[in-house]
Amino acid sequence: MPADTNEHTISSSRTAKYWRKRSSATVELAARPVGADAEPDPDRAPQRRLGVTFWAAIGWVALVTGAAVAAPLLPIADPDQIGIGPRSSGPNWDQWFGTDTVGRDMFSRTIWGARVSLMVGFFSIVAGFLVGGMMGVASGYRRGWIDLALGFVTYVMLSFPTLVLFLLVILLFGQGLWIVTAALSIVVIPSVSRLARAITIAFAEREFVAAARLLGATNRRVMAREILPNVLIPMSALLLLGLGLTIVAEGGLAFLGLSVADGFSWGKMIQLGAGLRTLQTAPWVAFFPIGAMFLTVLSLNLAGDRLRQYFDVRELGIGGR
């Protein structure tokens, strides 16, 4: 129990009696002693510092992003040049990540693959947050029929199985960069919208919103000036978690050959390495992009989760993938 400013003099005049540690056989259940609060659940308690893990994770994401952006300037091999090294050779001094079955440099390809993965992932999560956030704030603040209608739209979106939705969109509109981005953002919108709605309802009851209304602010103004910032800041913590999700989703699409038609992303590279023969002879072709994607998503998850605790927001209910 955090002592407030009690300043009892600390003395050892009455020395310890029999303070023995309770035998470990007695188990901890119902950790609610009267004299002291239960150990705080780190999942719940707001964290005051971000910590080493957070910065290491951010560092990795920054490194990958930097490399992806600067790929054309980096002194690395042409990712599409066939036969830059021997075919299917393992990692070696010349080709750090080895070569694929047609002798392309895997290191260079892994960096270039990050470009599409990150770009599509980033734009779609941002779009999803903007649209979903606005929907959520509108339905949480206005309630009534707007809430009902948007709730219905959200549920309809949720009812489309994720990949079937992708299939449908791509079948109809093709595989352009923006089409794929839009398709991915549609998947994020329902969850974001639900969360924004919940946060908005919590905020709309607060005094400052009531005060703004009393002072004659219009609905739109209250929404834009008072609520939106308060919703967006905690939600931004979830942006990183969401980015991890969209990167993975893009990977799944690319793996099926449904993502952006031009260029290649990590998912596409994994697909190329995932054939039975390639796995037998050159498993690294699949495993380097898998590793890159894993580390990036892990970093995003770790950093995002830390931020979520920092802002004390509930988890984004997207769940699995």
Binding site: L29, D41, F152, T162, L163, L167, L171, G252, L256, P283
Partner: protein, 335 residues
């Protein structure tokens, strides 16, 4: 009672919206005729038959009439000249009567495709669900039992790791080790008997189920920890009940809300996951069929897929709603 009716009405409205959206999107933006008659879809067939246009695609006059008659026939058969809502009505009416139409690609009735493919996918999803729940429930209970102690911390770290591996990547990792390297499992789907089926499904179900298990474990753990703070847990302990009994008989049930809500909402992820996993493990299930059909613009099959999966999603989430009242009798009153 009124709640149930409202719930069913909502469910029905969602289904109508989903199917109508899917139907109109495929029919307005795509050209269903193209799949049947190919190039002739864009030819003015009435004019050809009437002999007004003599030279279609560089052929001599009079040819192409047969093809054009097929176009007219197809138009009538698929009601393509009717306005969209009426066509939707025809289509959905057929659906309700079990007539899912014919595949444009191979003229097979979609219902027989469903009958052949769907059971395999359902089996896969069922086994995956068993994996997901079978792993997550004991794991969540063990983690919450001694929250923030060694096992819980280690499992949190492990959960983060697993959560960061995309399902398809996990599938490839498992495939590489268990099929390519150690050859414990077959590389193709063996459809001989139930044992060979289950044997073939171990890796696919693990690839689908484990990522879900991690999500469920996290949710369950959090809810269990909250429930463990309740007074009735102290009461149960004061009754001298064993920890195991308290965890499984008293705490688990009221802690499952969050988890089963997400189980329901995750169905679309699971259905989507089968599409990828069935491709990797060469399972001739409905997910793979859906994927192939989408690639070759086989609209009837895709539409049937959307309808079936959306119905399943809505039905499962309605079932989840009903499950709430089993889990917590306090909800029954509201019902």
């Amino acid at each position: 009672m009124t709640y149930l009716i409202r719930r069913l009405a909502f469910m029905f409205a969602v289904l109508v919206a989903v199917t109508f959206l899917a139907f109109s999107a495929t029919n307005v933006i795509g050209d269903p005729l193209f799949n049947v008659v190919g190039f002739y879809a864009s030819v003015d067939c009435d004019a050809v038959i009437a002999g007004e246009i003599k030279d279609v695609i560089g052929t001599v006059a009079g040819t192409g009439v047969g093809e054009c008659e097929r176009v007219i026939e197809a138009r009538e058969k698929y009601h393509l000249d009717d306005p969209l809502p009426i066509r939707y009505g025809h289509w959905i009416g057929g659906m309700i009567q079990g007539d899912f139409g014919e595949s444009y690609a191979n003229q097979m009735p979609v219902s027989s495709i469903l009958a052949e493919r769907l059971p395999k996918s359902i089996l896969l999803m069922g086994v995956s669900m068993v994996v997901a729940l079978g792993v997550s429930i004991p794991w969540g209970v063990a983690a919450a039992y001694r929250a923030n102690q060694r096992f819980d911390r280690a499992s949190t770290a492990g959960a983060f790791g697993l959560l960061s591996i995309p399902g398809f990547a996990l599938a490839i990792i498992l495939f590489y080790f268990f099929v390519v390297r150690w050859q414990i499992f077959p590389s193709r789907y063996m459809d001989d008997n139930i044992f060979s089926r289950l044997h073939s499904l171990v890796l696919p179900a693990a690839s689908l189920g484990l990522p879900l298990a991690v999500v469920y474990q996290r949710l369950l753990r959090t809810d269990l920890i909250t429930t463990l703070q309740e007074d009735f847990v102290i009461m149960a302990k004061a009754k001298g009940l064993s920890d195991r009994r308290i965890m499984f008989r008293h705490v688990l049930r009221p802690s499952m809300f969050g988890m089963i809500t997400v189980v329901g909402l995750n169905m679309s992820a699971l259905i989507g996951g089968t599409i990828i996993i069935e491709s990797i493990f060469s399972i001739p299930g409905f997910g793979r069929e859906l994927y192939v059909s989408a690639i070759r613009d086989d609209i009837t099959v895709v539409l049937a897929g959307v309808t079936v999966t959306a119905t399943a999603f809505v039905a499962i989430n309605t079932a989840v709603d009903l499950l709430y009242s089993y889990l917590d009798p306090r909800v029954r009153r509201a019902g």
